[in-house]
Symmetry: D2
Subunit: 339 residues, 4 copies
Amino acid sequence: MIITLKRDVCRSVFELVVGRVKKLGYEPHISRGKDFTVVGMIGEGADKWKESFESMEGVEHVSAIQKPYKLASREFKKEDSIVEIGDDIKIGSKKVYIMAGPCSIESREMVLKIAKAVKEGGATILRGGGFKPRSSPYTFQGLGEKGLKYMREASEEFEIPTISEAMTVEQVELVGKYCDIIQIGARNIQNYDLLKAAGKQKKPVLLKRGMSTTIKELLLSAEYVLSQGNYNVILCERGIRTFEDSTRFTLDLNAVPVLKKLSHLPVILDPSHGTGVREYVSAMARACVAVGADGLIIEVHNCPEEALSDGPQCLLPDQFKSMVKELDVIAKAIGRYIL
Amino acid sequence: MIITLKRDVCRSVFELVVGRVKKLGYEPHISRGKDFTVVGMIGEGADKWKESFESMEGVEHVSAIQKPYKLASREFKKEDSIVEIGDDIKIGSKKVYIMAGPCSIESREMVLKIAKAVKEGGATILRGGGFKPRSSPYTFQGLGEKGLKYMREASEEFEIPTISEAMTVEQVELVGKYCDIIQIGARNIQNYDLLKAAGKQKKPVLLKRGMSTTIKELLLSAEYVLSQGNYNVILCERGIRTFEDSTRFTLDLNAVPVLKKLSHLPVILDPSHGTGVREYVSAMARACVAVGADGLIIEVHNCPEEALSDGPQCLLPDQFKSMVKELDVIAKAIGRYIL
Amino acid sequence: MIITLKRDVCRSVFELVVGRVKKLGYEPHISRGKDFTVVGMIGEGADKWKESFESMEGVEHVSAIQKPYKLASREFKKEDSIVEIGDDIKIGSKKVYIMAGPCSIESREMVLKIAKAVKEGGATILRGGGFKPRSSPYTFQGLGEKGLKYMREASEEFEIPTISEAMTVEQVELVGKYCDIIQIGARNIQNYDLLKAAGKQKKPVLLKRGMSTTIKELLLSAEYVLSQGNYNVILCERGIRTFEDSTRFTLDLNAVPVLKKLSHLPVILDPSHGTGVREYVSAMARACVAVGADGLIIEVHNCPEEALSDGPQCLLPDQFKSMVKELDVIAKAIGRYIL
Amino acid sequence: MIITLKRDVCRSVFELVVGRVKKLGYEPHISRGKDFTVVGMIGEGADKWKESFESMEGVEHVSAIQKPYKLASREFKKEDSIVEIGDDIKIGSKKVYIMAGPCSIESREMVLKIAKAVKEGGATILRGGGFKPRSSPYTFQGLGEKGLKYMREASEEFEIPTISEAMTVEQVELVGKYCDIIQIGARNIQNYDLLKAAGKQKKPVLLKRGMSTTIKELLLSAEYVLSQGNYNVILCERGIRTFEDSTRFTLDLNAVPVLKKLSHLPVILDPSHGTGVREYVSAMARACVAVGADGLIIEVHNCPEEALSDGPQCLLPDQFKSMVKELDVIAKAIGRYIL
C-alpha cells in the first residue's frame, strides 16, 4: 500500500502516519520529493487498511498494490480451471460450449420442442428459467419448480445437461436438485447470502456480471463462492450499461482478455442479452468465439412473438443451427472447436 | 402502444400486425405516410404486448405510452405520500428529516456515543448497519443481530427511531423487530423476493436506487413493495456509476424533480455514498435540501480512521452539527425546516 | 511516481527499471515486500515518464502523484480567482451571476425582447448563440455574425454584457469583437487549437465540460487556455452522459466541490442543458446555488414552441423571473446574493 | 412523428396541437384510448418539428419515426459502399485492411523503420500522427508538417498508402497533400467546421466515433461530410467511455452489426485505443475481424517505452506480424481475407 501525503503537510501528521504503520506491524518505507512525501507499507494484509489511512487528515491518496481477491486470481492458480459436468463436459478446455434454450420455460411441450431443436443445432447444455427476475411485478414470473421438472424431463429425453437461475437461497437447493449448473443472475451479483449459499453446495455455478459491475467486483463476487469451498465457478459477461441506446446493453468483450489475465476461471459470453436484438446476435457470437470465450449462452425460441419474455432477442431454431456451424469454423481457426 | 412498421414492408406483414391487434381485442389506428406505416394499439393493458410486437418480422420499432408502474405513479395518487413513524415523524411533509449514524455498528459503546452526538446535532433518525453488504468476503461483515440490539438500546436511551438494512428475507423480520425503518440496499434493488418480503410486512421501507438503476426501474422496484400492500415506501438516490472517478459515485440530483413528477413517494438523498469523500458531503447536502429532498441520510463516525467500513466519507460529529445548522437555513429559504 | 513491479519479476528487469530511473536523473526509492517490489521516482517532472514506464515489460502498474495541470491548480494559486467584466461584474465573488437568454439568436426583435425580459428578471449577463453546433447538418445553424450584431445592440440598449459561443479559431476573434465572454462549447472541450486561440486573446473564456470529460481533463483543457497567458477562465458543468434517460444529461453537482478543491477558477452551472426539460430547471437551479456555484447559465425564450433549437428546456420569461427571486433567497442563506 | 398528449389534457390543448399539425401542412391522425390521446403527423420532414411540439404545454412525449440522417443511411443506398485508394485498395470489399504504425511520428528514422516492419507484417496502410491531440498542453504535440513529409517518404519507399489526423480546417488541406486518408479524431467528431472542410475535398475521410458519441450521432457527423459532396467516408469505432476502469475504454463491438444495419459505409475498428493495453490488443483484434469489421487500425512501435505517446498500447513489430497471420485465418473462416 502506498500512502501519499498532502503537500506541505506538517511534521506531526507525518509522524502520526508513520507511527500508525509501525503500530500495525509494518516497516514504513519513506520517500521524499521536493513537493511530496510517500510512505510505503508493504506486506501481507497491508492493503486492508486502505480506507483507514484514507480517513486520516493530511493523507492525499492511498493506492493498494495487492489484488483484493485471492482464490479467483491467476497468482493463486496459474493453469486454467476446468469445470466438469458428467464425463464429457469440461468447460475451460479446448472445446467451446454452447448453452441454448428459451429465456423462461413456458410449458412442457415448449421446452421439449426447443430442447430437441437446440441439441440438433449443436448446443451441449440446455438453458431455461423456472424462476425469472422481472423488473415489473406485473409480468410473467416463471413456472417455478414445475418448470424445472419439465426441464429435467427434456434433459433426460435428449441427453443434454441443463442450467437454470436461482434467485434465493432456497432456490439454490431446488435448482441444484433438477439442473446441472446453477446460474446467479446479473441482478444478484452482489447478493452475498445467495453467493455464499451457492458456495456451500457442490454443483457448478455460473456467475453473471451485473450491468454495472466492474471486473474487480465480479472477481470479488466469485471469491464469495470460492471461499465457501466450491471451486466450480464459471464467469459470464452479459453486457454492461452505457449511454448507447441502439442496443439493450453494451457487450464488453474486453472483459475476456482481462479476466483471462487476472483469473484462472472459465469465461462465458451472452450475446443475446448483450445486444438485446435478434439480428445482432450472430455477428457478436462470432466475435465472442474469436476473442477466446470458453462458451456462449444463447436464447432460442420457436415462436419469439409468443415468448413470455425476451422475445426480441431470441433466435429461431434454424438461425441458431446455421450460426453454430459458422462459429465452429471460427473456433477451429483459433485452435478450438464446437462441433 | 405505437407500432412502426419497416419501410417497404409487404402487405401480408401489415395484415399480420393489424390482425394481431384485433385478435388481442384492440382497435387498430392506422396512419400511413409516404415512407412509413404506423399502427396505434391504445387501451388498458396494450403496452404489455410491446416485446411481443417487437419480436415480429417487419416491425421497426414499438413505443409504449403508458407507464409500467401503477401504484407508485403520480397518476394513481395526486397528493404527496407521507410516511409516518410514531406520532412525530412524517416523512414527505414540510419537515426535512436527517438520518445519521455510522456505516456499521461496531460496538455498543460506539453506537451509544454516536447516537448521542447525532441526536444533539439535529438528526431525527439513527442509521447504522447490523448486516453489511461488502464487496469482499474478507472484510468486516457486521455484528448481525447483536448490532441491532445495541441500536435498539441507543434508540431507547436517546429517543430516536432507527433505520437499518435487511439483505435477506429472514433479515426483513429481524430488522423490523428492532428498527423503525427497513432499508433495502442499492445492491438488492432488483432482489425481487426481498422486495416482496418487505412489502408483506408493515414497517416503512427505504429503497436505495442501485448504482445503475434507471428511474423507471427504481419505480418498478417500489411497485414490487407497494403491490404487496405496504404503502410506506421511501425512495433514496445514493449516487450512480459513471465514467467520472474523482468521486466514488455521481449523485444524481436530477432524480429528485423527476421522481417528484412521476411519483407521489417521498425522496431521500445520500450525499455520503453519493460522493464518497468527507470534504464534499456538506456542499452536496446543501444542494440536496435545495433541490427538494424530503430527507438526507448521512454517515457520521467519531473516529473515521478506525471505522470498519466507509471511514473516508464519514463526517465527525462536530462537522455534522454545523452542517445541519446550515442546512436548516436553506430548508427555511424554500419554505421547509429541519430543526 | 510509484512503479509497482509484477510479482516474481526477475532481477534483470528490476535493474533495468532502477537503471532507467537513475538515468533520467532521479534517485530510486526501493521498497520490497514479500510479494511486491515498489520503486518510487519522486521529483520535478517525474510523472511525465508514466506511460514510458507502463510500456516496460515487468511493470505491473504506475501511479502518478502529481497533478498534470499547474496553472489551473489550487496549489498554484490558493485564493479564488475572480473574472472581471467591466467595473461591476466580478465572477467568483460573493455575488452569484445569472447568464440568461435564448439558445440561438433567431431575429433582432426576438433578442431585444428576451434581453429586456431577462434583465428585468434578474440576469446580469445575456447569453445567445450566433454560431450553433448542431448534431444534424439539416437543422438551423445560427445567424452567424448578424446574430452577434443584434446581440450587441441588445447589450447596449439594456446595459447588459453578453456571452456567445465560438466554434472555430476565426470565430474567437469575431465573438470577442461583439461580446464580453467567449464560450467554448462542450463539443469543443478538446479542440486544442480553439483552446489555444482563446488563450491568446484577452476576453474572458467560459469553458463547458464535455459530456464525457473527466474533471481532470476539464482542468487540462483550462490549462491550454491559461498556458497561453489568458487567466480569465470560467469553468462550466452542463451535464454528463450516463445510462439514465429520463433527463437529457445528468447534471454532475459533485463537480462543484471537487473543482473548488482542485482549482481556483470560478465555476458556473447549466441546469438547462443539464436536465433538458423545462419543468426540472428551477429545482436544479436551486441546488446549483446551494452547492456553491459562482453563477448559472439559463435558457429563456418567449415562445419555446417556436424556438429554432432547445425549445423543450427553455423557461418562459415569467418562470425565469420568479425562479431568480427564489434563488436569491437561497444565495442569501449561504452568505451570497444574486439581486 | 407521434405526439402523445398528457392524460386529462383539456380540449383546447388538443385543438391547439391538431391545429398546429394542420397549419404545418400535415394531416393529423388521431387515436384515442381511455387514458391517452395520440396524434400522428406523418410525412416528409415531419420529424424536424419534434422539439417544437415537445415544447408545447400538454404534450407528454414526442417520438420521431424517421432517421435524422439520409445520405449515410442504408435506406438511401442499399449496397455496401466501397472506398477506393489507388487501384488496389477497396475498403468495404471482401478484403479486410490493416492500418498500422506509430501513434505519433517521432523522427524520420523511426517512421521508415516502422513502415518497413508493418508492411512486412501485413499492413496495407501506414498510420501515424503529425498533429497530435493531447489532453495536456505539456506533452509532445507532434512534429507537424515535418512529420507528414517523413511519412510521405516512407509511403513512397515502401509503397504503402498513409492515413493521418487533421485537427483543424487548415490541416485538412495539409494532411490531404501528403497522405491518402484524412482522419478526424474522436475529440473532433462534433467539430462541425472541420467535418464540413473534410467534406469539401475529395480524399477519403476516416471518422472516429467520440468516446461518448451515440451511433446516431456518429452517423449524423458522417452526414456532415457526405452532405458536402465527399462520399468516401469510413466509420471507426475506437472505444467508448464507461465505468469499467481495467481497460482505458470499452471497445463497443455491438456497433459493427448496428452500423452495418443502419448504414452502407465501411466500418473500421481500433483495438489499440479500445483497450489501451498491449496484451489485450490481439484477442480483441480477432474479435474485430470475426464481428465483420472492414479493417483494423493498430498502433505499432519498435520501442514502446521510448514512444512519445501511447506506448502502453503499442504492439512490437514481431507481435504485430504474428497477430496478422492469426487474423487472416479468422478472416478466411468468415469468407474474407487479409493477406
